[in-house]
Symmetry: D2
Subunit: 363 residues, 4 copies
């Protein structure tokens, strides 16, 4: 039997239940979970803020573990067969169809209507398809990425979901060699965006967030300057960014805050003819006011929304984690490790920003 | 002596005054004006809605005329010397500095803080630097474009300012072969955008505007479908666009309406992972509400503001007017021709949308 | 029983053989062939110039027909179920894996090593997987595109393989509104490139090719100027292009000739800082000499190779054929129609450039 | 009087001559030279391999010095007036016209036919317009860049011309976060390209060059792997790169070698659908053979030539040198410092690859 934490419906306590070990289809794999992330998304799931979730579910979309069983032959992207015992993670998005207009014509696979996500859009009835479980069932075709000896479980799960989300965001933001960059937000996505912007060749990275704990971490992750959003009001924050950017604003701003008000502020922190990338507005937290003349048209501003990530992002992010291991302390994002029985406390801690990153260790 | 129409201050009548013939600096040219445009911008100037205008001014920023005098040798972009008597227009923007950070580092010359615009930011004391005048003084370095025998004055001034503004907008919008395109607005910019989108390889061009006169013109200018914004409310217009685009919305939407509310509507008319270009918000007409989660982030939308145009746009637009002369009736945009003494009536007609394009014939 | 033309091995006569009607897998479709193309590639197949071809094969990779049988439900890109009797074509490339590094990380699906092509890389033992056959077997997952009432069989097969290849090439070439464009070659790919460049907003399209029959067709397909390559030597051709482009060379040149020597010539026909797209070098016809200093580095030239096409290209090309039906006479590319028994003659005619396009009508 | 080293004609000894102190025009500046570079280009000048050079000239196009005199007010890009005594460099390219088709329509300013270059295309009769001189005359409009306290003379001149050339090359090469990158050549341009590629977010940087001294420097400048081109033949080098890149070749290759044969080799070291940037072919060193089918078309390769640099590149490169001061030892490129009387020896040392970088200290 396998123990897993189940979210039965929004606003109810997560409970641990027992399930039979997965019956394996050909091409499937089971993972003995080492860590599963507790993400801001899991708080949204608990609060019922995501549409179309097939409760009851086993949360946990970013995970690391060792391969326990393989049915048939399963290969990595370079065509090498996986072995039992390997340390791996997997791409939580599955069933991107490669048949629909969004997949094949628009080539916007993160907008494929058929995609499924482990820990979010799979129900308990679909199997052990979430990471808050001793064992995870990887259906045939789920894309598995080896961590090898080059990355330990903490280094990967520390960055977790945020590191990949931020990778996509920074790639799409168009940061170029020598740009000044503002990152709005110092949660796991924002902190990771700080590092990717630094690695991508920014001349200066300015992080806006709070509290001090996270701002200190931003400095460790490559920020040149930090601004505590508690200490300045919106106008003052915009002024501060301009002071740090020769009076012009950032070449590129990346929004990772989750606060809708950050969006209008971020436009105004960006220089004329600059670029603004919005990745933090993962749920609907309300409308905002903008001035299309001043904020967009006269500014000659480019704004990009960034949704989800695809396999290339998780693959490249892991390659880069391996390369920059040791230079940036992603593993220090982990503030606390919880057992399967403590996931309700973990959710609270994430909701209250008491931790940078909470992780579950089911075994 | 030279007669010119002078806008002394906002909200006052335009009056005709007499000025001495320009004293010419080396490298300067005088133009005998054939037509000068009455643009929506001129209505904004009359209403005092643009900042930093050095009233009194001679309006008229897009003009066509014949070269009357040349002091020294003045050459076109291909290094050919101009002759008196040639039919030409000129780029109204002058003194883009080629020295500042925006010109040289950002390469965003339309955001150069030193640029001056004929008919808008030159005062009467700077000389005959506006088109509502029998003669226009082209300072040394003003960029003159020959129309030759390939374009008559009506064909150029019909398109006028809108044709060049729309050229930049469509170029920047990233329309690709086979895209479905929505154009919001059927004024001179919108109608021109319809044509450029058609010429740029759109699979379907849908124009939204009013009244019927302009929608009929949109069909002449290359629209495949038109939607009268008076006949449907915002939700219905979005629905209509989706019906015309396999349920998804346009690949690219270009806002040319001047109405801030069009901006949120336009985002919702554009498909997921599509592109939205905002060029119509030339003055500050107020704030709007948007939902950053639904309208930008989850939509994976790209939004671009587009400000002004540079020499490449007027040069290429004229090359293309010459090439597509006869295929699209730009000259029919001219609804009425006014004398120098009738410019107040012309401004009223433009303000009341009684005309597509009003032009002044000073001589 | 079904009759099909079989190419048993390179350099041997194609012979007609009989095969049993396909046994259908779930999700498969049979097509009653109306037309199949005889492409330059088929001549290469006959001459044994492509590596890895599993002879014996049934040639014919671009085809049009009516759906005869459907096993289960098969849907189009918009999720609509196909009906028997519908007029359709299909994407000849199949089994692009969506699992390998090229598919998922590089997003260069035309370089997927697992892709298979109807009429080229399927053997007779794989089934009726080529178009020179009364019936074609569309394996589960083959992407079918409806032609509907908006396109008749001749309009599609006239353009054929070339129209889609050229669509990809012109899309990738980066032609922008107002560009001057040179197309090298006036075979089916070159003639199609002429039209796509015209539709994509070129200011001037110059086609270089031979003989007069094809140059006349180029003018019908949207060329502004044609140059007979027989009448001028290489230096003179370069000079002629410069004369037609203000002395500078083309903004964008698209090579569709198949002749390796065209490549160095094409670089020199393109202006400094322009773009050169190479799509015509489908087989290895030998090395050429270039001067990397003069032809690339000092020229600040961009050169792109273009291989194959993906589903988006065939889908969009067909949408555009429907839109521009009547404006460009693609169906006139068909010089002669051959029966299944006459394919050897068809191959000869294509090899000797006696036809623009030869097609096979198997039924 | 001012002493300067004069190259009277190709293949003759450089001699030191005396000139009167410059008479200053309004807006001009004189610089007391600290260092002037001896670049590979100076060897080409000595050997008469550049066309259109107006001998006699004072060589030295990249220079650092202190401002000695200012006539009138001269400002930096941020509009701050310069003071005497400031440590500065300047952009050697002057008189880019901002009027011609290449400047204004193509926006390819490095192809402007009117641009002049200090130390290369100014004759002695134009004034002290080269850096191998105690004093350099900066004509009105020459763009001066302050080094401030953030960069000492050695740190700037160490990188010198190569650092800016390589900045442009890497920017244009399109290196993205996580790419594997090959740099061909370990001269000053190649070594700088190694660093910019590293800073721009490469996952792995592989440098090919020789001798060991330079390969060791490449490792200091950020290379992950080096390959000594003397120890392997061309086929073996291609194999070695593939071994280091999962068998595929580099995502992006940047040619900085000056050897024409490197171009075909570089294409073959780059993965299918990758990018190849050519910046090292500054002079005409002969033709090469390529196979357009295998090397470009089937490979779906993008190739870009990169000519010169513009103000944005020198400005940003200096911003980045300031930011990454201390992390990369550009100043160690300086192998030897020569007096004005020793420039012939310096040229020999550069020609014989005895030094990484030779610099002249005129005062």
């Amino acid at each position: 039997m396998v123990k897993a934490a189940v979210m039965k419906e929004p606003m109810s306590e997560v409970v641990v239940e027992e399930f039979p070990y997965p019956e394996m289809e050909d091409g499937s794999v089971t993972l003995r979970t080492i860590y599963s992330e507790v993400c801001g998304t899991d708080v949204h799931l608990m609060n019922g803020r995501l549409a179309g979730v097939p409760y009851p579910i086993i949360p946990g979309h970013i995970n690391v573990g060792t391969i326990e069983k393989i049915k048939g032959t399963v290969r990595d992207i370079d065509n090498r067969p996986f072995q039992t015992g390997e340390l791996v993670t997997f791409f939580d998005v599955h069933e991107t169809c490669n048949k629909c207009w969004y997949c094949l014509v628009a080539k916007a696979t993160t907008r494929c209507p058929y995609r499924k996500v482990y820990g979010i859009t799979y129900s308990v009835s679909d199997g052990l398809c979430g990471g808050w479980s001793e064992v995870i069932y990887l259906k045939p075709g789920v894309k598995i990425v080896p961590l090898g000896d080059e990355l330990n479980p903490e280094e990967f799960i520390g960055g977790g979901c945020g590191i990949v989300t931020a990778f996509h965001a920074v790639e799409l933001s168009g940061i170029k060699l020598g740009d000044t960059v503002v990152i709005q937000g110092t949660g796991p996505v924002g902190l990771s965006a700080v590092t990717w912007a630094r690695i991508a060749g920014a001349q200066k990275v300015i992080a806006l967030g709070t509290p001090k704990l996270r701002l200190d971490m931003a400095l460790n992750m490559g920020a040149d300057e930090v601004v505590d959003i508690q200490s300045l009001n919106s106008e003052e924050r915009i002024e501060r960014v301009k002071e740090l950017t020769s009076g012009r604003g950032a070449d590129v701003t990346v929004e990772c805050s989750g606060n809708p008000q950050a969006v209008s502020e971020g436009m105004r922190m960006t220089r004329d003819s600059g670029s603004y990338l919005i990745v933090g507005q993962y749920t609907n937290a309300g409308d905002i006011e903008i001035n299309p003349h001043l904020d967009i048209n006269k500014k000659h501003l480019t704004i990009r929304g960034c949704w989800g990530f695809d396999f290339s992002h998780i693959y490249k992010a892991i390659q880069m984690l391996k390369r920059f291991r040791g230079e940036f302390p992603w593993h220090k994002f982990i503030s606390k490790i919880y057992t399967l029985n403590e996931t309700n406390a973990a959710l609270k801690a994430v909701e209250n920003l008491e931790v940078i990153k909470a992780v579950v260790r089911p075994n």
